[in-house]
Every structure is written in C-alpha cells, then in structure tokens.
Amino acid sequence: MTDFLLELLSEEIPARMQAKARADLERLFVAQMDEAGLKAGEITVYSTPRRLALIAKDLPEQTEAVSEESKGPPEAAPDQAVDGFCRKNGVTRDQLEVRDVKGRPTYFAVINKPGQDTKEVLAAAIPAIIKAFPWPKSMRWGEASLSTESLRWVRPLSGIVAILGDDLVACEIDGVTSGFETVGHRFHHDGMITIGNGGDYAEKLRACHVLVDHEERQNIVRDGAAKAASDAGLKLVEDEGLVVENAGLTEWPVPLLGSFDPAFLDVPEEVIQLTARVNQKYFVVHDKSGNLAPNFVCTANIDATDGGKAIVAGNEKVLAARLADAKFFWELDQKTSLEDQAEKLSNIVFHEKLGTVADKVERVAKLAEWLVSLEGNGFYQSSPGDTLHGEVSEAARLCKADLVTEMVGEFPDLQGLMGGYYAEKQGKSQAVANAVRDHYKPVGQGDDVPTDPVTVAVSLADKLDTLVGFFAIDEKPTGSKDPFALRRAVLGIIRLVATNDLQLPLMKTLNTAFQDIWPAFQKASGEQVILIEGQFSDGERYCSQQFELLDFFADRLKVQQREAGVRHDLIDAVFALGGEDDLVRLLARVKALQAFVETGDGENLLAGYKRASNILKKDDRDKQPVTPAKAGAQSEKNSTGLDSGLRRNDEYEPEPAEKALIDALDAAQPKVTAAIEAEEFEKAMTALAALRGPIDAFFEDVTVNDDDPAKRDARLALLNRFRTAVHQVADFSKIEG
C-alpha cells in the first residue's frame, strides 16, 4: 500500500471555481481508479489559487491479476473457425484447452492478465483526468495554441507533481511533464521546491508560505478577520461567502483592519456593504451598538515587510474613492424626485414586444388598483379616493423609478432598496416606501413574503404583468430555460396569496391582466400589428394562453406543495376537478384531503371507490361527466347528481345493503355539497366518511352483475352515483394506494 500525491499547478484559478474543481478532481480520480480496479483509502483534495492537489492514501502497488475465459467452437469444428477464435483471443492453437460441454469436447481460451503496476495506471490516468476536467470556462495558451486542438485548462497549466510512494509517476500532457518540483508563494519564496512524497507535501509548502489546505485558510480568514475587528473593539459582520472567496484568492491570508472617513456613513449601510464586499471583497464591521462602523477588513496575500501598513493605506484609498462615488450618487439621486425619474422609464425597453418599462409601470398600477378594489370574497375592497387605493396607485407608479438612478445603475442588486430609501427621503408614506422597496419580494425560497397590503398588491401586479406579458408573446419557459424567471414569478404569486390568505379569483385576474397587455403588445410591436392581430383577432391565442397559464400555475403549485411535503397525487386529485381557480381554497382542500386519506375511513373509502371504478370501467360507465361541487359559491340545486332518474327504480325491491347505500348517499350528498359551498372541507370529508360502511356492505352483500338487466343497470347507476359523490371532494382516481 502506498500513498499518491497529485498536484496540478496553474496560473490563478478563479476563487469561485475552486470548490467544484476539488470535487471534480476527486470524482475523476476515483472513476479512473475504479476502471482499473484500484481502490484507494482516504482521499483528500486541496485547492489554492495556483494549485489543485489530491492525496490518495493506501493505494495497492498493483492491480489484481485477472484470468478471463472464453468459450470457443467444438473440437470438431472446421479449422477455419478454430483459427478465427485463436486470432480473436490472441492465442495459438496449442494454448487452447479442451473441456467437456454437455458431452461435447469444446475449445476454451484462458487469458491470464497479470496485475498492472499502479504507477502505470496513474501515468495514463493523470492526462485523462486533465483532459476530461469540466471547467466552467477554459482556454488555450502558448505556442501549442497554434492548433485549436491544444490542451484547454481554466488558465495555463504550468506543472504536474505526481508521486506514488517516493517514486515519480512519469507522465506528460501537451508539453507539461510531471516531476517532483513545484513552486512556493509567489512573492515569499523564490525558486522551486522539491516534494518527497504525499506525506511531506503540505508541510514543505507551508515552509514556503503556502497553506495548501483551503479549510485552514478559511479558518484564518474567518478568525483573523473577527480578531482584527474585536482587537479594535468592533464586531465583524460575518459573511461566509467572503471567507471562502478570500481563502480562494490567497495562499497565505493575512486579514488587516482598515478605516474610512465616517462622513461616508450617511450613505445607506447596504450600499457601503455592497461596495466593500462586491467590488473589494472586504468585510464590514459594526460598532458596539450594532451600527456600521467606519472600518473594514481586507485580506492580504503576504506578510508585508512593514506589517501591512502600506497595504492598508492603499486599500483605504481605493475604498474611499469607491465610497466617494457612492456618496456622490446618493446625493445626486436625491436631487431628482422619483416621479421625475419614473418619466425616464419610457426610454428603457422592457421587452421589444411589450413596450417600455414606463408602459409596464402603467399596467402594473392599473392592475394593482383593480386588485385592491376586488369585491366579494376578494381582496381589501378599497375604492378610488381612499388611502389604500391612493397608496397602491402611487407606490406602483414609483416602484421602478430607481432603475434610472445612478446608484442602481452602479449596483443593480440595490433595485427596490434604493427606491425605498429615496421614497422615504422624499417624505412618502411608510406604506409607499415599503412597497417600493419590497415589491420584488419574495425572490428566493427563503425570502420573506410581504404582508403589508400596499406591498402585496404592487408585488402581485408586477409579477402577474410579467407572467401574462411573456405568455402573450409566447416566451414561455421550456425545460431548464426560463430567461424571464417566470417560474419564480408564479411561485412568488402563490406564496403571496397563500401567506396572506388572499381569495384571488385567478381566471378573472389573468383575464384582467391580459386585457391590459394586449394593446401594449400591439403598440409596441409597431409594424407587426397586422400579423399579431391575425393571431389575436379570433381570440383563440388569447384564450389558449390563459389556459396554458392556469396549467403553469398548477404545475408550479404542485412543485411548491411537493417541496412542502404534500403528496403530489392528492394535489392532482384536487386539480383534476378543474373549475377551481382560488389558490387558497384549493390548498385548503388538498390539506383536508391529505388528512382524510391517512385515516382508516379514508383508506377504506378509497378502496371502495377503486372497486366501484373498476366495475364501472368494465362497463364503460366511467365516461359519464362528473361535476365537482363548487366551493364558495351557491350552486344550483341538484347540480351535483346525475342521479334523480336512476335512483327512482321501482321495478324491484332493493336489497338491504343496496337500500342502505342509497340512504347513505341521500344523507351524505347534500352535506358534502353544503360543506364545500361553505368552504368547510374537513366537514365534507367527514360527511363522505359516512359512506364507508354502506359501500363496504354493498360490495359484501349485493351482486352488481345481476342476471336481471334492470337490477344490473340500477346498481351500476348507484355505483356511479357513489363515485360522483366522492368526486365532489376530489378525483379519487388520481390517488395512489
């Protein structure tokens, strides 16, 4: 057993790529060893900006010898066949063995493959790993790049150290040959370092100011930055992303504390933090009371001869120039009102077929106003002239204004946030400022969901407009491609609606949004109007997009619910009913269903349902239309049954179990209908549960396929009625189990 060391030396590898590169190196190495039948013990991978390293412990010195047998023709076969067999297996005729196969003497070739030196396996594996390395972006370089077939690597590959035990694994790729030598720190160590083996690798590098273990460097950055801050009586604002990035940019990290002019603290904290982090990769720090302090921590890559004074001075100067720009933008932006900024949005194209951002803003405002004025079980029921209506209208019209500010031009990530600040500075109400700031939310999975009514309305309207707009112009997400983040928009809408318990009639809402998009679309597409009108004029496309959008909502809802642990078949069962476009009700129904099917009553009822369905299927009676009970609205009497005529069957006396089922249905059906109308889904489930006993007894005692066609018809009709009753709650045929 021997240890193996591989180091791939390179010009500076981007910090963000190093974690994946380590994983890839290990994966590719293991794959190569598996192929050769070699199993290593512990494998460790390291990275620095200039090298990727792998140490595999306890590799066997040789692969195992293998013996392969191959069955040939019978001994009596013509010479031609036997010769061919020999050629194929690379043996001579006298090396063949004759064995008995079912009483027939048959030739066998036995090929013994001796074990291969691990060193040889590695010598072939290293170039293969390098060639197969999946860098996100790779390049050619140097003289070899005269051919486009030359080796590609993330940056020029400059050396390979490959040592098995104490021996060199000699290999070569594109002019780079393996050896014992590597380099130390770029500035702390001149000349080459000779590595003896995997055991002394890390320590030899350490002596030359290279900490090859990325985790050790991360610890130094994390702890050193915290210490630099606490030594000055301050507290570091932790940022693990920065820890990893700085460790990926250094071979010998040295955290240093610097400061900036407190006058810059007028600028919002987020701006300072972003400037420091994104542009300079600095940590920011808080003072004792938790406010941003005029200090930062940078991470140098050397132990400077002056202790870092010049480095700190240099970094302070750079940050000061950056903050001066930010302060300039902050002050300049406040000289223009958001209303005036918003006018400039007419110069920014939102999408060539959907008009400018100003057009979008106007649509969003109208939609948001409409949303808050929805009646019935709707939203907040505001009306023109009241505060809510006014705030929604104002917030919507200002929500994108910060896109043309200097600050957001410089830091696009600050969209929304800056608008919120500027709205506050301009004396807008808190509700308006909040809405401007938060209307992009929720962005990701863990992001907060707004609850302030003004924010909710603007956020919903913004997302709905985007969604409907891109569907209208046929820019739907396909596969993994979703360039306009429409899936995220739908998920945002679902979460806004669910969190705030909004009873939003989806179809009506989409309709309203479509009506606003259509003229914008025609206007923006200019000369294409005729063509577009052709597509729109019969209303077909317009309609089909709405249905596609509903499906899209359903899909996203399923994904979201699945992630929340809800069984997808139950979601399907509720969705299959159709006709429900209120997300909150839909989810309540799914939730009640899940609770129900997990009870004994639920399970048994499901079993009874499946049995009834199978019988009906055989008889082709399952094609009859099913009308689900509509929640939240008075349905017409008797709309739930296709039963009345079939129930009245006076030609024979029903058997007791049959009669019991009829009675149970008579009792349960109105209860289910009423419960669903009242949106009491658990009650509806309880009412259904009363059918469990009668349906079980019915199957126990009654023969459906009676010889008397009248009885048979009546009983099939009864089962269909049972099925219909169950379908008032959910399409049980979609439920698994």
């Binding site: 010009e11 500076e12 981007p14 910090a15 963000r16 900006p49 972006k137 790779s138 390049m139 050619r140 370089w141 140097g142 003289e143 070899a144 790049s145 005269l146 051919s147 486009t148 993330v154 940056r155 020029p156 400059s158 770029r186 500035f187 702390h188 940019l249 250094t250 300079q280 600095y282 940078c298 140098a300 890559n301 050397i302 400077a304 001869t305 002056d306 010049a310 480095i311 001075a313 240099g314 970094n315 100067k317 750079v318 940050l319 120039a321 110069n347 920014i348 194209v349 060539e352």
Partner: protein, 290 residues
C-alpha cells in the same frame, strides 16, 4: 514606496518602453486615430490574428467621451493613456515578466499586495473574448491581463497575451497623489493638470454639449460606406481604420445622448460588422484559414 523619488508619469512610460524593449518587443508609437481602448490598435486587434509571432508595446491615448467630467473628478477622464503589451504566442513566463515590470516602475511586491483576480474580457464590438484577470495592487485594479481566445470571430491560433496598464492609476499609486491632475508629469515641475486639465474641460463641453449631431450621424454613415468600399477592394487595413472611426463617432453620439436604447444595439451591430469584416478581409488577404 522607497526613499527614492517616485517615477514621473513620463518616466513610467519610458521605463516600460525600456523594460519591454529589452524583452524583444517592438516599441510602437500611438496610433493616430481616436479610439476607446488600446485593444482597438491594429497592432493588437489585427496582429492577434494569424500564426505569425508578434511582440509589441506602446502607449495609446484612449477616448471615452461619456467618461468626461469637465476636469472636476479626480479619477475620471475622457482622454487618458493605456500602456499595451501584446505577446504572441503568450510566453510561459508571462506572469513573471509582468510582475517584474511592476518592480521596474517602483512597486515592491513584498510591501504591496499584488493579486490576480478573475476577470474575463469580451468585446462584442470586435467579436472578441479572452480569459484572464484584473491585477490588483492593494485592492486597486492596475492592469487588465487577457489571453485572447477569439478575435473578429476567429479563433486565435496561437493565443496572444495582452497586458493593459492603466497608466494614470498606476502613476497616482506610485506617486501617492489623490488627483490625476496633481501627477508629476516630467519630474521637473510640470503636472498632468498643466497639460490636460484645460483639454478635459473643453473636450467635455464639446463631447456633451457642442458636437454637431447631424455632422456626427453623417460621419458615421461615411465611415460605414468607406469601410464597405475598402472591404470590396480587399483593403483590410484602411477598412479597419474606418471601423475605428465609426466606433468613435458612435461613442460621441452616445455622449450627446441622441441614441436611444433601442438604436444603441443596432449601431453597435453595425460597428461589429465593420470590425469583423475587416478581420475577415485581413485573414483572407494573408491567406489564413479560419
């Protein structure tokens, strides 16, 4: 820095000339056309194409009309200098050569933190891209370091290494001054401001307020037409000059604020077509295959 008096602006250029000249580079003089970056110089763009070795260094004045600040911002100029080094094929020790050049102009790498930070380069206008870094000195970007992979839509065979030093930034750093106008230009009492401040004021005014847009639109059309004529006559060098001119005129029109967002893409597309056409013609004229 050190106890020695730091280099003046012109000494930095002279030092770099000397340094790269000794390492086999042809020291060129600036190209006599307005351009937005040293990369536009035919010694970079066109010479990056084809198989022939090429090593050159030069200082190139760059014009970015929209960056003008009427001489009021200590860091931003509409006219400044880049120092360009093109090494083709990229030598194996190019990073060390570069670091030694920093030492030559007075930056001690044991006193200052020098880092290679990922920064890929792409110029849609030139149909070009490359991988490399921005080089940081104590957190300040002082050089753009790129391995050209494609130019004018053609694979670079072989790849050239391009170093672009921001001369004013470097000089401000080396001399420890906070405003570009305070730079010691000649080591003998003349400042950068003495030479360029008035130029920044007047040129900013012209770029932003005065330049006649009708004339500029006409100039853009003329350059486009002339470039196309040269391409027809298989004259890539004059064609490329017209592409450079069109690009600069477009930048001026941008500064005058007369190009809408929608039109912008179309203008850039036109400039790209001219530049790529010139590269294609250059390849063809030299008999090189893509």
């Amino acid at each position: 820095m050190t106890d020695k008096k730091p280099l003046s602006f012109q000494q930095i250029i002279l030092k770099l000339h000397e340094y790269w000249g000794e390492r086999g580079c042809s020291i060129l003089q600036p190209y006599d056309l307005e351009m937005g970056a040293g990369t536009f110089h035919p010694a970079t763009t066109l010479r990056a194409l084809g198989p022939d070795p090429w090593n050159a260094a030069f200082a190139q004045p760059c014009r970015r009309p929209t960056d003008g600040r009427y001489g009021e911002n200590p860091n931003r100029l509409q006219h400044y200098y880049q120092y360009q080094v093109v090494l083709k094929p990229s030598p194996p020790d190019i990073q060390q050569l570069y670091l030694d050049s920093l030492t030559a102009i007075g930056i001690d790498p044991m006193l200052h933190d020098i880092r290679f930070v990922e920064d890929d380069w792409e110029s849609p206008t030139l149909g070009a891209w490359g991988l490399g870094w921005e080089v940081w000195c104590d957190g300040m970007e002082v050089t753009q370091f790129t391995y050209f992979q494609q130019m004018g839509g053609f694979d670079c065979k072989p790849v050239a290494g391009e170093l672009t030093y921001g001369l004013e930034r470097l000089a401000m750093y080396i001399q420890g001054v906070d405003s570009v106008y305070d730079l010691d230009y000649n080591g003998n009492g003349v400042s950068y401001g003495d030479i360029f401040l008035e130029n920044e004021k007047q040129m900013s005014e012209w770029n932003f307020e005065v330049a006649d847009t009708d004339t500029l639109f006409e100039a853009f059309k003329m350059a486009t037409k002339e470039c196309e004529q040269c391409l027809e006559k298989k004259l890539p060098l004059p064609a490329y000059e017209q592409a450079i001119k069109a690009s600069h005129v477009f930048n001026l029109l941008q500064a005058r604020g007369v190009i809408s967002v929608q039109e912008r893409a179309s203008y850039m597309g036109q400039v790209r077509d001219l530049a790529k056409g010139s590269c294609e013609a250059y390849m063809a004229k030299n008999g090189w295959d893509a």
